[in-house]
Amino acid sequence: MQRITIDPITRLEGHGKIEIFLDEQGNVANSYFQIPELRGFERFCVGRQVEEIPILTNRICGVCPEAHHMAGAKAVDAVYHVDPPRTAKMLRELLYSAFYVTDHTTHFYALAGPDFVMGPDAPVAERNILGVIHKVGLEIGGKVIQARKYGHTVVEMIGGRKVHPCTSIPGGLTKGINEEQRQQIEEMGRWAVDFALFSLKLFEDIVLKNSTYLDLILGDIYTHRTYYIGLVDENNKVNFYDGKVSVVDPEGNRIGKYAPNEYTEWIAEHVEPWTYLKFPYLKKVGWKGFVDGKDSGVYIATPLSRLNAADGMATPRAQEEYEKFYKTLGGKPVHQRLATHWARLIELLYAAERWVELATDPEITSDNFRTIPTEKPTEGVGIVEAPRGTLTHHYWTDERGIATRVNLIVGTTNNYAAIQMSTNKAARNLIKGGNVNEALLNMVEMAFRAYDPCFGCATHTLPGKMPLEVIIRDANGEPIRELKQNL
């Protein structure tokens, strides 16, 4: 049996790799996608004041601290049984919408972009943000930087500091915004709407009008018929900050919606011997292995799943794009994973439109941004949609508000089983007769890139990324070829 390993090489611990085993004929027998798990967070939190945890959790990850801060803030509200005033909820959602614009912009231009703008077969040295900028023009690069800058500015204005917000406390926020700040935020939001529309147009021109790419998106290699989940508002429209989690089956039928404090009735976790990370699945359906279909409890939580799990978008232009999305791709639900990149841009537009909506609400500058908690703290769950999946924080405390237990289900973890299935399927379809090359491996990687898996928590240590090494082993497990990037 041949074995291909895509393995990190700067880390001492061998997590974060793809191993692809080939059979005697050089076809894929199986593959395993292992990702690193950071240990001991629960132990780290126990014994601390619970309101400290939203600040701590946003240190878990350098990529989406805002998501952890928001899920944590909502969990702490629940622990104290306090409902923040409307202004506080709007300010949090406004911060969160601006963050979404930043995050989705980065993913499309810096990460997904290279595959489509440069093409899956482009040399690795060109398949990055520099290649994209050279090809589409410096002006667009400038817009990306501008979008990020505006997002960061709003996060700092409402969140109190750069990058890692710290203003959410039980019952609301430590501060509000004044009219001058509101005007600035509105102006930046209007720019973000134009930028999102521009990005969708770019996607249409470069991807949808290219029949090769469209075929790639619609092809079977990247298709899985699974369950989909996503947070929705009371009208079943996509919402990133609040609501219930909608669950739809592979045929698009909603099987239910759960409130944050009901998540344990819906989500269970499966353990495999070859990885530390657990595989969440739908409890009501059951774990049937890494398989598609209505009988398998595997679900995904991504931009694509959020669109599939909802009845539409709550803002007008995003709703137009939502309708076009399903019309173009043949109805709901869409199972083709590469369509996630398009779904992400529709969410970018929604986030920008929502940013403007919230910034122009007459109550956004109100001084009523906190309800003082009066009840004894006990236990609480907070759920938000992180850009890369539903994020659940669950805290337990004693009567003094000291944390006694913490449980988190992070965005990427939801998708672990599906990522495993997608990389496996892509590998099986693409690697035949022992033929392995850079382009094929990139197409295997495209399978998991669509999910935007985030191991940002592990990316701080220099050189800042976990690279992959590819080792191809023969039928006896001996390495016959190694692929490494230029060091």
């Binding site: 895509i6 700067t10 880390r11 001492l12 611990e13 997590h15 974060g16 790799k17 990702i35 690193p36 798990e37 950071l38 240990r39 001991g40 132990r43 780290f44 701590l56 240190r59 350098g62 980065t106 993913h107 810096a110 990460l111 690795v124 398949r127 943000i129 520099l130 900028i133 410096l138 690069g141 400038g142 930087i145 990020r148 800058k149 960061h152 750069k162 990058v163 990139n442 990687e445 890139r449 898996p453 191991f455 940002g456 928590c457 592990a458 701080h460 240590t461 220099l462 050189p463 800042g464 990324k465 976990m466 690279p467 992959l468 590819v470 692929l483 490494k484 990037q485 230029n486 060091l487």
Partner: protein, 169 residues
């Protein structure tokens, strides 16, 4: 008055992830000592920051400076835990031109190049002080002993870089 060299010292890492927090600890030590030593660097405008960032976000925090000193944990496996390295940006492996398990961002080198292409004002000098780390997968505010003991040496490297910058002026 003569324009001073905008010099940013950045402690990088995750302060609650064991040895990954060493960059922060070094930056905190520099913060404590800077007032007493400021007079040694009259031509430098020094500010000290602590971030848990990489790639594009880190590049953005380097904008509008003349020189940056980055302090971070590193895992090469080639030197004993607690070894202090002085590196240039060119000496860091550039992983984003290739396969990566963390497809969420780009490398710092590519981010800097992209920033320059897009007209951002970025520092001409980026120096890196890296400390060989042991435990970076487990949540803790504690550093392992050899990494803790490396803090004075890493601080010394910062002061020496600042002296070099002062002389360049």
């Amino acid at each position: 008055m003569e324009k001073r060299l905008r010099t940013r010292i950045i402690g990088l890492g995750n302060p609650i992830l064991g040895d990954d927090g060493v960059g922060w600890r070094v930056a905190e030590q520099i913060e404590k000592e800077i007032e007493a030593k400021q007079h040694l660097y009259p031509h430098l405008w020094i500010d000290i920051q602590k971030f848990s960032l990489g790639g594009l976000s880190l590049m953005e925090q380097m904008m509008d400076t003349d020189a940056v000193i980055l302090i971070d944990a590193i895992q090469t496996g080639n030197q004993p835990i607690g070894s202090v390295y002085r590196l240039n940006i060119e000496e860091l492996p550039n992983y984003s031109a290739g396969h990566t398990t963390s497809p969420h961002d780009t490398s710092l080198q590519n981010a800097l190049e992209a920033g320059k292409l897009m007209g951002a004002q970025l520092p001409n000098l980026i120096w890196i002080i890296a400390i060989e780390a042991e435990k970076v997968y487990e949540f803790s505010e504690q550093l392992s002993l050899p990494v803790e003991q490396a803090i004075p040496q890493a601080c010394q490297a910062v002061w020496e870089y600042l002296s070099q910058l002062e002389e360049k002026r």
